[in-house]
């Protein structure tokens, strides 16, 4: 499958983000096609999370444009972007601790891209819980969930609005290898469904096995773009990211 | 079963009752309620002028055996509540006194707003309400509405008129010119007095060269005093409240605001004022005043010192005490606890009090002291609406 034949659902043009004097993202441009899984990789502090935050509306662009389905969303607030079909997870898991597990999922489905309410929402949330493997947990207190289960729950919440684009920000970080396998297979299923996903990740194997394409960032700039095997073989990427004796 | 048990209890109860009845000292009591702040923003005033007078009066009446009713003397049982300067609490406490404690009489609360907030309750249950710390210009309207309310302290217009008169007198004597600096606290009656004063001062031929208000709770009044001084006045008039009365005087002293007529309103008559400023207080004009040289007043001051351990002020303390004397004479005049009769008696008769005779005309005492002045360590009334014994006003000669 070549991405060029498909419709570009998200287009990023010359995105710039300054924090005071610090340039976190500098003139970054890339596209995301429908049904594509894109990996956004790069060393720590290279601006990946900042980019995710700009797409999801947490931080405003200093300059540049982001188009979702051709519509300029660069200045929009998070909730509007969410309603237009962008859902995300977070580097550090963010739970809604006073809500039940079921309600945590429902939270994602009540206000977002495709909205549900009442018994419809409840049923749909249950389906999602089952999918991520939390069917038995629906009334458990959120604090009592294990780390991987919290990750699962967060994924279910992000899926609850049937988003057009799913942003996974280091969703696999902190998992041990057994858990990692579960995690990867979950994302693989999403990929099979034809979801459009951007993944920020350090776990290279996940990148290799999940992504159609990768954008590599360093110091806020794009230094490479291509299939995972292409970019991971790129000399500059190896130097900047993996270290001389890396991979 | 129940009946026999009841009987068993009843007999000793009756016996005890009989013993109590036979004891003349405990023959009858008269319950009197009082509500005023002991804490909260207005507590500073009420603990100087309100509560001690009540304490003194109850103490004196009971020492004499109680109020003289037709059925014999009745000792006063005082029920007091702290309203924490919260009108909701005042309302509740007066309700409680009327319907739960079922007191025979209620002493009017402290402060204009609080008296007005509770007036409907006094009216509803037919309690006479002899106000002592309510100053308002709506007296005719309020007395029409509430048939048992009585005003003793006077109205704002009279207070301002008197100040204008005193100033006119000083001007006519050549003591001062006609430049007046006027400031007022932006709360309660300060505003009313200032508003009443403006036209009166003008029609008396005075020029108001400085006219500002300041909020209650201002920590620094220097700009006010400096501004007043800069306007180069002949007289300084402040419609002020206790903390600022102290503050303004202290600053006037520091700034050397040398006017021949220096007037601050509430708290000028407080003993603490004299205690703080000592000789500098000499010649300061203030609201209220009394004739402290009458035997009645001298006795009152002495008793106040003995019973409460502190000195009374020279304005509201005797007025509160006088209102209680009025109440006492009305109850004793009627001879029982019939509140309607007492109210009627209040409207018809004249009463001898520590501040002289009080007679209500349309529920309003029209003879009251309006301006006083510190002279030789005492606060003499120098102007009144029909009280004899006013001292001639003196010029203030520096600090």
């Amino acid at each position: 499958m070549s991405s060029s034949t498909r419709k570009n659902i998200l287009r990023i043009r010359d995105a710039v983000k300054n924090f005071g004097g610090l340039v976190a993202v500098s003139k970054l441009s890339f596209d995301l096609a429908e049904h594509e899984v894109l990996g956004l990789i790069g060393p720590n502090g290279s601006g990946k999370t900042t980019m995710m935050n700009m797409i999801s509306g947490v931080s405003k662009l200093s300059s540049g444009r982001i188009y979702l389905n051709g519509e300029d969303i660069s200045g929009s607030s998070s909730h509007l972007i969410a309603r237009k079909g962008v859902a995300r997870t977070y580097q550090l898991v963010r739970m809604l601790p006073t809500l039940s597990v079921l309600e945590n999922v429902a939270a994602g489905g009540a206000f977002g891209f495709s909205r549900r309410w009442g018994s419809d929402l409840e049923e749909y949330s249950r389906t999602l819980l089952k999918r991520v493997g939390l069917a038995e947990m629906e009334n458990t207190a959120v604090d009592a969930l294990t780390y991987i289960d919290q990750k699962r729950l967060e994924l279910a919440r992000a899926l609850a609005s049937d988003p057009k684009i799913l942003l996974l920000d280091e969703w696999l970080a902190g998992l041990n290898l057994t858990e990692l396998e579960i995690g990867i297979s979950l994302i693989k299923e999403l990929r099979k469904e034809g979801r459009t996903i951007i993944i920020v990740e350090h776990v290279m194997d996940a990148i290799r096995s999940l992504c159609d394409r990768c954008v590599v960032m360093n110091s806020g700039m794009k230094i490479a773009e291509g299939t995972p095997s292409e970019v991971l073989a790129d000399a500059e990427v190896i130097r900047a990211y993996l270290g001389d004796s890396g991979a | 079963m129940l009946k026999s048990k009841f009987r068993k209890l009843l007999i000793p109860a009756l016996a005890i009752g009989a013993i109590l009845m036979a004891n003349p000292a405990a023959s009858e009591t008269i319950k009197i309620g009082a509500v005023a702040p002991k804490t909260g923003p207005l507590a500073g005033g009420s603990t100087v002028t309100h509560w001690p007078s009540i304490q003194l009066w109850v103490n004196q009446v009971n020492a004499q055996g109680g109020l003289k009713l037709k059925s014999g003397p009745a000792k006063i049982e005082l029920i007091e509540y702290d309203d924490r300067t919260n009108p909701g609490e005042t309302i509740k406490a007066v309700q409680r006194l009327a319907t739960q404690d079922k007191v025979d009489f209620i002493i009017a609360p402290y402060g204009t707003g609080f008296n007005l907030a509770t007036a409907p309750i006094f009216a509803k249950y037919g309690y006479p309400q002899i106000t002592t710390t309510a100053i308002t210009d709506k007296i005719p309207e309020l007395t029409k509405r509430y048939p048992n309310i009585f005003f003793t302290l006077g109205d704002t217009t009279a207070f301002t008129k008197s100040v204008a008169e005193i100033l006119s007198k000083m001007r006519d004597d050549g003591t001062i010119g006609n430049r007046v600096a006027m400031v007022n606290v932006a709360d309660a009656f300060g505003i009313e007095l200032a508003n009443a004063a403006r036209p009166i001062f003008k029609s008396a031929g005075f020029e108001i060269v400085y006219d500002k208000s300041y909020p209650l709770g201002t920590q620094d009044l220097s700009p006010v005093v400096k501004g007043a001084k800069a306007s180069n006045p002949d007289a300084f008039v402040a419609w002020s409240y206790p903390p600022d009365t102290f503050g303004l005087t202290a600053l006037a002293k520091i700034e050397n605001l040398n006017v021949k007529a220096f007037y601050t309103a509430v708290a000028t008559a407080f003993p603490a004022y004299q205690a703080k400023f000592q000789s500098a207080a000499e010649g300061v004009l203030g609201a209220g005043g009394v004739n402290p040289d009458t035997p009645e007043m001298m006795a009152f001051i002495k008793a106040h010192n003995e019973v409460t351990g502190k000195a009374p002020d020279y304005w509201a303390s005797p007025v509160v005490y006088a209102s209680l004397q009025v109440l006492q004479q009305a109850i004793e005049g009627v001879g029982n606890k019939d509140r309607a009769a007492v109210s009627a008696f209040l409207k018809e008769n004249s009463f001898d009090t520590v501040i002289g005779p009080i007679k209500f005309n349309n529920q309003n005492n029209e003879a009251f002291w309006t301006v006083g002045q510190w002279q030789n360590g005492k606060f003499y009334g120098v102007s009144s609406t029909g009280r004899p014994g006013a001292k001639p006003v003196k010029a203030k000669s520096g600090w």
Binding site: L22, G42, P43, N44, G45, S46, Q91, T146, Y147, I148, E170, A173, G174, L175, N176, L177, T178, E179, L180, E181, H202, V203, M204, D205, R208, A240, Y241, L242, G243, G246, A247 | -
Partner: protein, 247 residues
């Protein structure tokens, strides 16, 4: 030598750590491996005096009983702890952070000596003395955290997941730094997800599962242990790439 005997932690009825006993000598790196929720962090926090543990538990350093002491006395006794999230003062400067590290009475005399040691280990920190730590990158913050810990002149340094959220390159740097710290004569107790890299630098390792120690041995032996490989280094079979590719 740090010695821990029979340490158990309860959260209500739930056991977060059960009868854990380990030792760490100066000049050695000991790693505790375990899945998320196995109780690793709880264990370190208990030793550091942050989380209270059951009576019976015994902790000593250099022969001094330090069981159940408050955190500041444990530092005073010679254990420095770098928690997950680093535990630095992000609103203060690098210099102030290091000065605070030297706060224990024992460390004050050796303050300048330790400072030299830290700056030699992390020359970058010398350049950034006046910088507010919050504005530094993740890797640099990790340096501040380790530097701050060394400033307290400890016998034993404990670290909770120092590699979390760091890119592979930075991760490697951190582990190399730890080896340098060991060379300086300190003992290191490490809790890690990153089994491969931590076993590579460790002398000994403990395996924690369901709040219990199920295995302890030399790191070099455990690397080849099939059970360890399965649980922490990736299974065999279809995910063949995992073991060697996990950086």
């Amino acid at each position: 030598m740090l010695e821990i005997k029979n340490l158990s932690v309860f959260y209500g009825r739930h056991r977060a750590a059960e009868d854990l006993s380990i030792t760490v000598s100066q000049g050695e790196i000991v790693v505790i491996l375990g899945a998320n929720g196995a109780g690793k962090s709880t264990f370190l926090r208990a030793i550091a005096g942050i989380t209270p543990y059951a009576r019976g538990g015994f902790v000593s350093i250099e022969g001094n009983d330090i069981s159940h002491l408050p955190p500041h006395e444990i530092v005073e006794a010679g254990i420095a702890f770098v928690p997950e999230g680093r535990g630095i003062f992000s609103d203060l400067t690098v210099k102030e952070n290091l000065a605070l590290g030297a706060n224990p009475l024992r460390a004050r005399k050796k303050q300048s000596e330790n400072l030299k040691r830290v700056l030699k280990l992390f020359p970058k920190l010398a350049e950034r003395k006046g910088q507010i730590v919050r504005t530094m990158s993740g890797g640099e913050q990790q340096m501040v955290a380790i530097g701050r810990a060394i400033m307290s002149s400890p016998y034993i340094l404990m670290l909770d997941e120092p590699s979390l959220g760091l890119s592979p390159l930075l991760c490697k740097e951190v582990f190399q730094n730890l080896m340098k710290v060991r060379e300086a004569g300190l003992g290191i107790l490490l809790v890690e997800q990153n089994a491969k890299q931590s076993l590579a630098i460790a002398d000994r390792a403990y395996l924690l599962e369901n709040s219990r120690i199920i295995k302890e041995d030399l790191a070099s032996i455990l690397v080849d242990d099939p059970a360890v490989q399965k649980a922490y280094l990736g299974g065999n079979g279809d995910e063949t790439g995992f073991k060697e590719k996990l950086v």
